[in-house]
């Protein structure tokens, strides 16, 4: 049993024990088993990662079990470890372990804890299967496994209709992406006669320029394959068009959002593109599409993020936008930068989500930032952690030096690479800088609305409820931990006048230690991860060495070029970051009437953004409603109205009617029979004469 097998299968074992043991096992043992397993996995993962950073480890594949073979098709359960896997291993196990720990505090009042922890561990197992996959089928197994876990966790509070609806939406929208992924696997197998990733990547350059028939037309083979696989990546990583499930996924408990919908699962698409990067390199068209889709998502999500009021939704759109950065980085060929942003983003975004969870915990499940304010002094550790996260995501740092937070290294590298790459990269560069401005604005807006200004708690129903409970009979809760998102951001509420100022006598409490420790650890990551690891991930020489034992197509020339970009390019992310900060400061701290004035003036634009570009409405009109209407039509008009009516029922009726007619002929009168005989005879004679 090598350590990689332990890393991957311990979480599965823990999930089975906690899940099947459930209530019989009890809360504490379930928590201990799952959290313990994850910390062991995490402790085993870091040495592997560090050995790759040190440059003294090669790729290896550990076989587990034969899986599926049919003709020349072979797929095995096997665990691949290389530099790329190692990065994902530490991201997944570290964030997962911390989220497990955090959930001890966050889910304290939840009666169904064993189930929750079992799902979390199950998710981790599936994610690890995904990142250790050595063939496309196992990757798909992990892909669907994380989808299942995500579905279960979004719908964890299954009594809430909005949660179960969001869970289905997440699963079904992801399936649209999976359709592309599956067809991509079919096509890849058809072309390469194997689904083993290293074999495909080795053979891919040889297929560049060939053509294939697809849906009746002929296309460039590699473009078709890459784009089909990319559709899968778009689904899982919530790229524009298939992003609609991600904001709704915030119905799940906040630790879930941190783990699945920020740090790990949603980055699976980026991981896939990087894992298969030599394949994408063979098709310029595919790379251009990746770039444009990434850039478009990046901008779209950032614009929506500026108007949301639910703290978790702001961060959700921020995640979506950051994923866009990663994709266009991959699209321009800067896979190292994409993976680096994935790596740093995992830390600071998990931090922001867990911080948000801590705020929500303190504010008695209120998620609407309009009812926050002045929390800086009340929950100082959360405040400092969130600030660290915000400094990291907005990319604070001094260009040209090594002083900067994690996001500074990764995001600036992406923006510079895009510029250096030219072509579609130039477009991506412009979008990336614009989005950086918006990122800075919405991130600081979140901090200012939450931690600064005057307390606006009195207007919150949750706070009123809490205060009432405290005065009344103690611990009377309906569903203690259920979060209540999305209720306040309907357009009708958008123009509500400024919330009531006042604390309503409520005293927020800082979260317990089990929740603060993960915040602190992640804060360290958000501050230092960029500085510590930038050499290995994105440095032209260091990166080439680090990524060599992996399938990632590291481009040293591009990374060189990205260091040589003009000075204004280097400073532009800094400038827009500062601008966003200043605007947020002016609008939310100095002149707090600005936002209201702005929304009143540009209400069409504001509504457009607040309603997320009306994607949900559009899809509902285009797909959901027609699916039900057509289904009903097929059922009532097709099956019952046509097939049954003219088929079995029609035949039955015909037999009855025919019987009625023939019964009439059997009249019993001799003269009728004689007449018929005569007519028949005449006809027969006529025929005989005319024929001969």
């Amino acid at each position: 049993m090598t350590s990689i097998q332990l890393i991957v299968f311990l979480p599965l074992l823990a999930a089975i024990i906690a899940g099947l043991g459930n209530k019989a096992l009890g809360k504490l043992p379930a928590k201990l088993v799952t959290t313990g397993a994850l910390f062991v996995s995490c402790a085993l993962s870091w040495p592997i990662f560090l050995s790759y950073v040190a440059g003294d480890a090669g790729p290896m594949v550990v076989p587990v079990l034969h899986w599926l073979s049919s003709g020349s098709f072979e797929a095995a359960w096997e665990l691949r470890v290389d530099a790329l896997t190692a990065v994902m291993l530490v991201v997944v196990t570290s964030v997962s372990a911390l989220v497990h720990l955090y959930s001890w505090g966050y889910m304290e009042e939840e009666p169904d804890q064993p189930r929750f922890f079992a799902y979390l561990s199950l998710f981790t197992f599936a994610m690890l299967m995904l990142v250790t996959a050595n063939n496309l089928l196992q990757m798909f197994f992990g892909w669907e496994g994380v989808g299942l876990a995500s579905y279960l966790l979004i719908g964890f509070w299954f009594r809430k209709p909005s949660a179960s609806a969001a869970a289905i939406k997440a699963f079904v929208v992801n399936r649209v992406g999976d359709l592309g992924f599956m067809l991509g696997i079919f096509g890849t197998y058809l072309v390469f006669d194997t689904i083993s990733i290293p074999d495909i990547l080795a053979a891919a350059p040889g297929m560049a320029g060939s053509t294939i028939g697809f849906l009746g037309y002929r296309f460039d083979t590699m473009t078709v394959l890459c784009l089909l696989l990319f559709i899968g990546a778009c689904g899982k990583s919530a790229q524009l068009g298939l992003h609609t499930w991600l904001p709704d996924a915030m119905e799940g408990p906040t630790p879930v959002s941190a783990l699945i919908h920020a740090a790990t699962m949603v980055t699976a698409g980026v991981f896939m593109v990087c894992r298969l990067s030599p394949m994408f390199e063979t098709s310029e068209t595919a790379l251009a599409v990746v770039t444009y889709v990434g850039a478009a998502t990046c901008l779209f999500a950032a614009t929506v993020g500026t108007t949301q009021n639910d703290i978790k939704r702001v961060i959700a759109y921020s995640t979506c936008s950051q994923l866009g950065y990663m994709f266009f980085a991959a699209g321009v060929g800067a896979y190292g930068a994409a993976m680096f942003h994935l790596f740093t983003h995992a830390f600071f975004k998990a931090l922001l989500f867990l911080g948000a969870g801590s705020v929500i915990h303190a504010m008695h499940h209120e998620q609407d930032m309009r009812y926050y304010g002045a929390l800086r002094k009340e929950i100082p550790i959360t405040f400092w952690a969130m600030t660290a996260g915000t400094l990291a995501i907005t990319g604070v740092g001094i260009p040209g030096t090594l002083f900067g937070f994690a996001g500074f290294f990764s995001k600036d590298s992406i923006i510079e690479s895009a510029y250096a790459a030219g072509g579609p990269g130039t477009f991506a560069f412009l979008i990336g800088v614009t989005a950086a401005l918006l990122t800075s604005f919405y991130s600081w807006r979140l901090v200012f609305l939450t931690f600064f200004g005057k307390a606006r708690w009195a207007g919150s129903e949750h706070i009123q409820h809490a205060v009432h409970d405290a005065h009344g009979h103690g611990d009377h809760h309906d569903h203690p931990d259920e979060e209540d998102s999305g209720h306040h951001d309907s357009p009708s509420h958008a123009h509500v006048s400024a919330p009531v100022i006042g604390t309503a006598g409520y005293h927020p409490h800082e979260s317990p230690l089990v929740m603060l420790i993960p915040l602190i650890v992640l804060s360290i990551g958000a501050v230092a991860a960029g500085y510590v690891f930038h050499h290995a991930f994105i440095d032209a020489e260091g990166g080439a060495e680090f990524w060599a034992p992996s399938t990632l197509a590291f481009d040293a020339h591009l990374m060189h070029a990205s260091h040589e970009v003009p000075l204004w390019v280097k400073w532009s992310p800094f400038a827009v970051m500062a601008t966003g900060l200043v605007i947020a400061y002016l609008a939310y701290l100095r002149n707090t009437d600005w936002p209201a004035k702005f929304t009143a003036h540009f209400h069409v634009l504001y509504d457009f953004l607040l309603n997320k570009w009306y994607f949900d409405e559009l899809y509902d009109m285009l797909f959901v409603k027609p699916a039900f209407a057509i289904g009903r039509f097929f059922w009532k008009r097709g099956d019952e109205g046509t097939i049954d009516r003219f088929g079995p029922n029609g035949m039955a009726a015909l037999v009855v009617a025919g019987g009625r007619v023939t019964r009439r002929l059997q009249s019993g009168y001799l003269y009728t029979y004689a007449l018929v005989m005569l007519l028949g005879l005449a006809a027969a004679v006529t025929w005989a004469i005319t024929v001969s």
Binding site: S70, F186, L201, A202, P278
Partner: protein, 527 residues
């Protein structure tokens, strides 16, 4: 005779037959016990059959053969290959579960009911084991009778309509098949199925023979548009009847295609592949959308069966190993999963006596074990990797992609629609708040119900994680079939061209093309 020293196939058919006779003459509780013992004995014999089936390289295609002439060319000829073996195993595995499912819910005419089920088992094994054309026909058609009785006597309110519809629909196609069989026996001078499988019929005649067989198998399958008997039959049938109907009877159509249409009429099969593809594509989309709007649980699952069976037919007519093996795996997986889903419906139907989805809700709260198992089967039905249905769906869709990317695309939409209707069903039954006091008061699974559902759940996972156990007995037979139909195989639509040789400078400066290539080479070696 065979390796075991006794005619195991005949024995497996005789055990339930004797049990059936005994059930007819005994009281309710004795009949239940007799039926359970008989089916368990048959299950044990099934395990013995599987274990003694030679799967080694170069094994005989037909094993456990028995031959006893009756009169003329007509003979009691039995024998199985790997394909039949897996389907027999499915049958004997599901039967004891069906008996358990009927334990309490059937109260009237228990002896007759159990006898009908046991008789059914005899006939189903007979269908898969028969090696004589007419023997097959007799078993194939006689299977209608017990099912007709089960629906018509122990069924729901509208059972008479459903049972007649079922009977007439399925009989209609069979008449044409009988005519074709008579012609074939005269032409080939033999009624031996293995002989006929190797006989080359004139391609022109094949067309007509193929169509005659198709009429029968398409109804049994069922394929769109001759599927409308299935929802009615399922809705009206008692739980165990639905399980056997979905689990085994629907597989007879697919088995027919594998055993008759493809090997006996390869040219005609290739010629009509477009027809099968077209009907299947319609079926996947059409019946999935219909399933989405159902308010009756059983009807929903019945429609989903039609969609899944369409994946079987496209896989079969893909003319390649992956497609046919995938189709077999879908049949086995669907047999387990849809059977289990009907059992899940039966569990709550027994408690509340309604199939209306809206009467339930929030069952996760009061029936957590049920919710867990139902989730497992829902996910299996959706085709989640790691469960039985994924293996089958994946292989058969991959097979058909080689034949036509259009068919693959349209049929793969089934995974989206399937997720939509199954999760929507699950949500309405298990999620949400408890709406009705009577549904909220339902107790969780009893020991008997757990004994029914857990083994199916484990098998579903086994088939998903290590499908090799199920693929290996049939591999040789599918290879033989693929070799048999290979000359007629239609060309796929991919028509891949060779890659152009790559000049080193073809990549833009930013792409670093050959650096990448070197790296792949090392990665490839590492593998």
């Amino acid at each position: 005779m065979n390796e075991l020293g006794f005619p195991i196939l005949s024995f497996m058919m005789a055990v339930p037959m004797v049990g059936a006779a005994a059930c007819l003459f005994s009281g309710a509780s004795t009949a239940r016990t007799i039926a359970l013992i008989a089916t368990l004995v048959d299950f044990a014999l099934g395990i013995l059959l599987w274990l003694s089936f030679d799967q080694g390289a170069g094994h005989a295609q037909w094993q456990f053969q028995e031959y006893a002439p009756i009169f003329g060319r007509f003979a009691w000829a039995m024998g199985i290959d790997g394909i039949a073996l897996t389907l027999i195993a499915l049958t004997v595995f599901l039967m004891p579960i069906c008996i358990l499912a009927s334990w309490d819910s059937i109260e009237k005419r228990v002896g007759e009911y159990m006898a009908a089920f046991l008789f059914m088992e005899t006939l189903m094994i007979g269908v898969f084991a028969a090696q004589d054309l007419f023997l097959f026909y007799i078993f194939f058609e006689a299977g209608l009778i017990p099912m007709y009785l089960i629906i018509g006597i122990w069924g729901g309110v509208n059972r008479i309509y459903a049972s007649y519809k079922f009977f007439l629909y399925t009989l209609l196609g069979s008449v044409l098949m009988l005519i074709a069989m008579l012609w074939m026996a005269r032409e080939a001078g033999s009624t031996d199925i293995p002989t006929l499988m190797a006989y080359n019929f004139d391609p022109q005649v094949q067309t007509w023979l193929w169509l005659a067989f198709f009429a029968s198998f398409a109804v049994k399958m069922p394929m769109w548009p001759v599927h409308t008997w299935l929802p009615d039959a399922h809705v009206q049938a008692p739980t165990a009847g639905s399980v056997i109907l979905a689990g085994v009877l629907l597989k007879m159509g697919g088995y027919g295609f594998i055993r008759f249409s493809l090997p006996m009429f390869p040219e005609a099969s290739a010629q009509f592949a477009w027809l099968v593809f077209a009907l299947s594509m319609v079926a996947v989309v059409y019946t999935s959308l219909v399933a989405l709007v159902q308010s009756d649980m059983k009807k929903l699952i019945a429609y989903s069966s039609v969609a899944h069976m369409a994946i079987v037919t496209v896989g079969l007519f893909a003319f390649n190993q992956a497609g046919i093996e995938g189709a077999m795996m879908v049949m086995l997986g669907h047999g387990l999963v849809s059977g289990a889903l009907f059992l899940c419906v039966g569990v709550i139907y027994d408690r509340l006596h309604t199939r209306e989805i809206d009467r339930y809700g929030g069952l996760s709260i009061n029936m957590p074990k049920y919710a867990l198992l139902f989730m497992l089967f829902t996910m299996a039905s959706v085709g989640l990797p790691g469960t039985s249905n994924f293996v089958g769906e994946f292989l058969s869709l991959m097979g058909v992609y080689e034949a036509s990317s259009w068919v693959a695309l349209v049929c793969t939409t089934g995974i989206i629609l399937g997720a939509a209707y199954m999760l929507y069903l699950y949500r309405r039954i298990c999620f949400g708040d408890q709406k009705n006091a009577d549904a909220a008061a339902m107790p969780d699974l009893t020991a008997r119900e757990l004994v029914m559902l857990v083994p199916i759940g484990l098998s579903v996972l086994w088939m998903g994680v290590y499908p090799e156990s199920f693929l290996s007995p049939m591999r040789g037979d599918v290879q033989a079939l693929v070799a048999r139909i290979a000359p007629a195989k239609p060309e796929g639509d991919a028509k891949l061209t060779a890659g152009k040789p790559q000049p080193a400078a073809a990549h833009g400066a930013h792409e670093g093309g050959h650096e990448g290539e070197e790296k792949h080479a090392t990665a490839g070696e590492a593998h």
